[in-house]
């Protein structure tokens, strides 16, 4: 797929490899969440180091982070919320909406850069200068509601990317697969009435884990009924249960939807060494699930898949997890 001559940025890439974009920017470290907060800048440093030390950087096409045009953010969040977030940062407030959402002066501009970088990534794929991509951004997005910050999230990155795909690039059907250990309440609520976006989430059971939504009977509403899928997994479960659900439920659901573009809310926090959850997945599982997702992309979206970072807090494991994740995209 794709000729290597188009991407001079990645001279080391084997000709058989995919043109995989990698979004990372040092400015993503500027969103500080105060001491002892798990959603810390070190997460991204660990991810970058893992990819760098794995020798993968030369094979990847760098994607630039630029601040998002507000009109794209406004496809999901009202101006009043965007302004409230900006004002809170300017006024030196320490949190937005909940104590989970710590902010600093740079949080708003960092969030704009996260969205902008993801939209740049999507654009490069639609312009056929890359095939797929991993967006290592902060802050994450899938808990962000239309007008409310929640669960370390401010702007709903994947939701905005989906709207951008539809409105700027004429993509009709977007599939979003969310394998962060927490349910993406924001993403679900934004699209629950919308049959053009299929949201599939597999996560720790909401009776035990944040945010308390994503129960199996939440299947969307009105015209969107049947386009929201939730698979709660009980704490203590691991690879076997996840593999069973992915194979028997997730893959057929996405196959049936036939998306034209795939986005993933990529969270590494269901790893057994991550203390944010009771789910016990192995490092190998994360490689496996991404292989299933790129296979779905080959079948339906011409390989177009953008992975957007959500959670994942175990600094010891993030390097290998990110390295393996990117390898799957390169070797799709």
């Amino acid at each position: 797929m794709g000729s290597s001559s188009e991407s001079s940025d990645s001279p080391e890439r084997e000709p058989t490899m995919k043109r995989t974009g990698f979004l990372f920017d040092r400015r993503y470290l500027l969103h500080e969440t105060g001491g002892f907060h798990p959603e810390a800048p070190e997460r991204l440093t660990a991810i970058y180091q893992g990819i760098e030390e794995g020798g993968l950087l030369p094979s990847l096409t760098p994607v630039q982070a630029t601040p998002a045009d507000l009109r794209w953010i406004e496809t999901v969040h009202p101006r009043s919320y965007i302004d409230r977030f900006n004002d809170a940062c300017i006024q030196g407030k320490k949190m937005l909406d909940t104590p989970d959402n710590q902010i600093c002066a740079e949080s708003y501009s960092t969030a704009l850069l996260a969205v902008g970088g993801i939209l740049n990534t999507v654009r490069m794929i639609m312009e056929d200068s890359i095939d797929n991509a991993f967006c290592a951004v902060r802050p994450p997005g899938h808990h962000a509601e239309v007008s409310e910050a929640m669960g370390f999230c401010y702007f709903n990155n994947v939701a905005i990317a989906a709207r951008y795909l539809q409105q700027e690039w004429g993509i009709q059907k977007v599939g979003i697969i969310d394998f962060d250990v927490h349910h993406g309440n924001g993403t679900q609520h934004i699209f629950e009435k919308d049959p053009s976006v299929c949201y599939y989430s597999i996560h720790e059971h909401p009776s035990f884990a944040f945010p308390g939504t994503g129960r199996v009977f939440e299947k969307g509403s009105a015209e969107g009924t049947g386009f929201t899928h939730n698979h709660p997994i009980l704490p203590g479960e691991g690879d076997d249960e996840y593999r069973k659900i992915v194979t028997s439920q997730m893959v057929p659901a996405i196959d049936a939807f036939e998306p034209e573009f795939l986005l993933t809310s990529t969270g590494f926090d269901a790893h057994c060494d991550d203390d944010m959850s009771g789910i016990q997945l192995s490092t190998e599982f994360f490689t496996w699930i991404m292989q299933q997702i790129v296979a779905l992309a080959q079948r339906h979206t011409k390989g177009r898949v953008v992975s957007v970072l959500e959670g994942g807090y175990c600094l010891k494991r993030l390097p290998e997890l990110a390295r393996n994740h990117v390898s799957v995209l390169l070797n799709a």
């Binding site: 798990p38 104590p99 808990h143 370390f152 009776s207 944040f210 009771g278």
Partner: protein, 225 residues
């Protein structure tokens, strides 16, 4: 936790002289299963439920059209003929706990709420109770459940609450339940945060045992066989 805060005030009622089919239509049209029967002044006379109506209808009704004479007979049936008049009523200043125990004991689906003069003020159904308890459990808000095993002695809960409060974490609810081991209690704080790894470590550092929720959810409570 008073009934007045949780009861349904927008009432659908019926009078005793109306027909059985009018009662059925009022229930169907409003998605309800209990109709208070009131007089012209709004005093409660009885209750009619969807089950009362189903019991009054002949079983062949479902399979075939009824004969004209049978239909006439049914159409002549008034609400007063089939309503219950032995009522379990509560007043607005009953607590939710009173209502919960009464509904469980009397095996009814709803309780009419009347004032001291017998005027109907509201109705409290099992669904209203469920809503109240969702609120009490805090599970309508985003949060994380912890399970902590403590020895049954004075001051344990205080230590837990203090530790959580020091972390600036809000409580959605906190439940205390009997554990299968004597002299132990299981404490379930529902915390309105995603950020629980630090407080978990802190509690463990204080000597508390954090339980695997799968080994102990509420399944160990006495079962109703």
């Amino acid at each position: 936790m008073f009934v007045s805060r949780s009861m349904t005030r927008k009432l659908i009622t019926i009078t005793a002289e109306e027909g059985l089919f009018a009662a059925r239509d009022a229930m169907r049209g409003n998605g309800i299963r209990h109709l208070p029967v009131v007089d012209a002044e709004g005093k409660l006379l009885g209750m009619i439920t969807d089950r009362d109506i189903r019991s009054a209808l002949p079983t062949e009704w479902i399979r075939q059209p009824l004969s004209e004479s049978k239909m006439e007979q049914l159409e002549a049936l008034r609400v007063k003929d089939i309503m219950s008049t032995e009522l379990f009523t509560i007043t607005p200043n009953y607590t939710i706990q009173d209502a919960l125990l009464l509904i469980e004991e009397k095996k009814v689906g709803a309780l009419p709420v009347v004032d001291e003069q017998g005027y109907l003020k509201g109705i409290l159904s099992v669904r209203d109770l469920l809503r109240a308890f969702i609120n009490v459990l805090g599970i309508g808000q985003p949060g994380t459940l912890l399970c902590i095993l403590v020895e049954e002695k004075v001051g344990q809960l205080k230590r837990i609450v203090d530790a959580i409060t020091e972390e600036n974490i809000s409580f959605g609810s906190i439940l205390v339940a009997h554990y299968w081991e004597e002299e132990k209690r299981a404490v379930f704080p529902y915390l309105l945060t995603m950020n629980v790894s630090r407080i978990k470590k802190k509690l463990e550092g204080m000597g508390f045992e954090l339980l695997d929720p799968m080994k102990w959810y509420l399944d160990q409570l006495p079962k109703n066989e």
